[in-house]
Symmetry: C2
Subunit: 223 residues, 2 copies
DNA sequence: GGACGATTTTTTGCATTCAAAAATGATCCG
DNA sequence: CGGATCATTTTTGAATGCAAAAAATCGTCC
């Protein structure tokens, strides 16, 4: 049960820069630094109790991941959330969800099934948006993991993390949370039946609908 | 004609660490450092005429991209090519190729069409494996770009670069080069007809066949 | 009163430095 | 002669230092 199951765990071992990558990503995901805000190196060094060297290494990695924007000689900023990019993120994720469905239906082991069923079950017990986000992540990540394709899982994780920054705007919406759970029910039906294409299409569609909800929410915010 | 069209161009502008990321990736792609070989920081610093700081920043980024393996306190090594991972890479790329087909068929502009046609045409004139690799990259990248989805393009580029390390083992095979061109012909037919699903399936299949050729070649090498 | 420009301050990018860890090699003992 | 132990060298990881660039501050002039 050593800790590599949870995607967002802030591992405490390993090299310093790696820790910082995770911690800093956590900060960004929690919205502690607003979109487009400058990232004050000195401040974060103080906060994490490290020097600038590992922090800057972490910034480069996060820039490559798309969380941070590096402006030469002008400092780093939190990558602004661009509605157009959000659409592109979900579109890309759609392709992955489709493949997750096709593969997970065939490759899921007993363990995978257990994890997926459990996440789904817990989700049913927690209709409150607060718990929902984490459990929802777990559910979908368990499905992704059931493909047993690490490359896919890594790509999925990266996109998912980028999308996660938007949860504030959409998980407040209990309407959508309910709808989403309904879609999960359908997903589980297809999964239990090991119906590859059905599962693939349901996952892709679920992703599409979530994307649209996010886009609507973003539009509302910007109004 | 300023240089952001070519994916693998080693841009000369920008921050130092960025240049190094590209240069070093070039070194790795060219196979100058063998799989699993240790990456001598001091040597590369000398070669690039920089200090260790930007080099190490670049290493972190390349590690995140999957080209380099960072072993805490034990130095970095060129990420070894694992046949299983290669299979996973191609599987993942399949999902993307499928989506590229679906989107490019619909979204390709006149410019896109021109670029794609040109790459395809030049490819016909250069059946020699040497020129083939670069032109083939250009052809497929032009298709990816025709989706007009930067997130997809970036993901595609990353996977493609990782796969590119394997070109030595497969592009030597003139048999496969010819087959591949035949598949390209079919792809162009579907593309010109703007047949979404046909194009998608042809691209996915082409990717699958390339993957199998690579796997076969790898097996042969390892024998 | 406000805009422009010079000067100070801060921040950034990279090189250098330093401590700790690992690799290497020499010595000693069985 | 082989293997284990310990000193030496090399390499790594991170902090610090320094020059250049950008931002902020302030004074001056219109």
């Amino acid at each position: 049960m050593a800790g590599s199951t949870t995607a967002l765990a802030q591992e405490e071992a390993g090299t310093l820069h790696e820790q910082i990558v995770n911690k800093l990503r956590g900060v960004l995901l929690n919205g502690e630094l607003a979109d487009g805000a400058r990232i004050p190196e000195a401040l974060l060094c103080l906060r994490f109790g490290i020097s600038r060297t590992p922090l800057r290494e972490a910034l480069k990695v996060l820039a490559a991941e798309g969380f941070v924007e590096l402006r030469p000689n002008r400092g780093s900023i939190v990558a602004p959330i661009d509605p157009v990019e959000v659409a592109h993120l979900f579109e890309m994720k759609g392709a992955i969800e489709h493949m997750i469905g096709r593969l997970a239906a065939v490759r899921a082991t007993g363990e995978d099934v257990a994890r997926i069923e459990q996440a789904h079950g817990e989700l049913a017990l927690h209709p409150d948006p607060a718990a929902y986000t984490a459990l929802n992540q777990e559910f979908h990540r368990a499905l992704a993991a059931a493909t047993h394709n690490p490359v896919l899982l890594q790509t999925y994780d990266n996109l998912q993390k980028r999308v996660l920054r938007l949860r504030f705007v959409v998980n407040e919406n209990p309407q959508r949370v309910l709808e989403s759970f309904g879609e999960h029910e359908g997903i589980m039906v297809a999964f239990r039946a090991r119906a590859r294409l059905d599962l693939a299409e349901r996952l892709e569609e679920h992703n599409r609908l979530t994307g649209e909800a996010v886009r609507r929410a973003l539009k509302g915010e910007n109004a």
